[in-house]
Amino acid sequence: MNVIEINKLTKYYGQARGIVDVSFNVREGEIFGFIGPNGAGKSTTIRTLLALIYPTGGSAKIFGKDCISEGPEIRRQIGYLPSEVYYYDNMRVIELLKYSASFYPDTDNKRIYELAEIMELDLGRKIDDLSYGNKKKVGIVQGLLHRPRLIILDEPTGGLDPLMQHKFFELIREENQNGVTVLFSSHILSEVQRICTRVGIIKEGKMVKVEDMSTLGHTNYKKFKVEMLEPQPVDYFNLAGIGDLSVNGKSASFIFNGDINQIIEKLYAKKISNLIVEEPSLEEIFMHYYEREA
């Protein structure tokens, strides 16, 4: 069963492109990663699902009901964590959480204290005095306190330290094991790889691909920067799986996806003076591997 069904969803802001013909489904009980570079349309899609903005074309359904016309009813079952959290400054954390809970029938306050303990959140403090990371924690508790059946996370980990990120992922996984569906938007591939079962990739407002994580999991993108002792022919590194190759005299840089031993062999055959291997950014991967498919 599909929890989210998005069908040719389109949103233009005046003349400016938001998203164009975005279609994908999120199945019940999965953690669906929604990845793309900044400005690709992730937030636009999510804000349309929540009826904060209205689509120019197409439609979206959650729990089989139309997002716009049956929005209020649907939103009872949704927990949303925005990418930037802002709350009423002069409220205390506990007041805000109780205010949030008051919108959902039959929510018990016990859950607030439970979640606050997991996230190590001080309930007595004023929202005003909280650091960005702590506000994010308020957002997490606020998004989960009414035991939603669908959790929508828009770049949720920004501002959280690694330990808190870990706890947060644990929390999401636990919810997921209890049958909760998760839509997880991010521009950090490794984050998505860590938790998601399927991913949808969006670029410049269009869905590029929806893949099982197991497929994407085999890919192993690395970014190489090599300084040679001698200038090399331009096509020296030209192997299958190479992208973004640029050779400039003694130095070369490229992104590689494939058996890393092939590169090691190439490097071993020559004298090199310097070598940097790093994780490419999502943008770089998209730029050179998904461009043609887009």
Binding site: L52, I53, Y86, Y104
Partner: protein, 264 residues
């Protein structure tokens, strides 16, 4: 209901300050009455020598300042100015502040239709306006009684307060209506105050040039002439016009705000 309570709490501080300002205005104003009453008719003569522009801006035409009701009647313009400012700002900001403070992503993803949120906020506005009005009424009754040695003018005060309340509702509705289509809270607030000031200066201008008397329909400040109101007489047409403005502006915010995109 939770939204109404939240709004009441959020606006409490500002409401208390406004109310204190009103009490202070009335208390200080009535102290001056003692002085004018002592001078007697010569005070009226003195005031009559003032240029008409000043008199009309101060709201003093046609009123006998040596009688307590005439003197109190002058207050109405100041009540209208302060009450109108309070109302128009309240109306302009009560919804748009959610986007300004970026709390819209909290409130508008709750399982409540936007229309209900507007209704709750509208209720909070009306309660705020009513408290402002009642405080003004009781402060007036109290301080006027301190200096009044003739007949009670509590009825006249009540008539003026009814007019004030309608004016408050009109300006709050105008602010709300503007916030429905204004891009952001800042624009809603500045546009609303502009409209407010224009209507005020228009009413002063009408006092000075008889020829533009027909423009009185465009300024709520002209809907409740103090002398008439204090006699308990309300102009039916202006009551109708007031109701129409209030309903039209409120309907406008329901229509425009439900259809618009919410950005933070």
């Amino acid at each position: 209901m939770n939204i109404v309570l939240r709004e009441l709490r959020a606006n409490l501080k500002s409401l208390v300050i406004w109310c204190l300002a009103m009490v202070f205005l009335i208390a200080v104003g009535m102290v001056k009455y003692a002085g004018i009453e002592a001078v007697g008719q010569s005070a009226n003569q003195l005031l009559n020598q003032m240029p008409a522009v000043i008199k009309s801006m101060l709201g003093m035409n046609e009123l006998d300042l040596t009688s307590i009701s005439g003197y109190y009647g002058v207050f109405f313009l100041y009540f209208a100015l302060l009450g109108g400012t309070h109302a128009v700002m309240l109306g302009a900001l009560i919804i748009s502040k959610e986007e300004r403070d970026k709390t819209a992503d909290f409130l508008f993803v709750k399982p409540v239709p936007r229309s209900k949120i507007i209704t709750a906020k509208l209720a909070a506005v009306i309660i705020n306006l009513a408290v402002f009005n009642l405080v003004t009424y009781f402060a007036s009754v109290f301080f006027v009684a301190q200096y009044n040695r003739g007949e009670s003018i509590n009825d006249q005060i009540a008539y003026l307060m009814i007019s004030l309340f309608i004016l408050q509702l009109i300006f709050a509705a105008i602010g709300l209506g503007i916030s429905g289509f204004a891009e952001n809270a800042k624009k809603a607030a500045s546009l609303s105050t502009t409209v407010f000031l224009i209507t005020f200066f228009l009413s002063a201008a009408i006092d000075l040039y008889d020829k533009i008397d027909f423009l009185k329909y465009f300024t709520p400040f002209k809907y409740f002439p103090v002398v008439e109101v204090m006699q308990g007489s309300f102009n039916t047409f202006f009551l109708f016009l007031s109701t129409a403005i209030i309903l039209a502006c409120t309907a406008m915010v329901y229509v425009t705000f439900q259809k618009r995109d919410i950005y933070i």
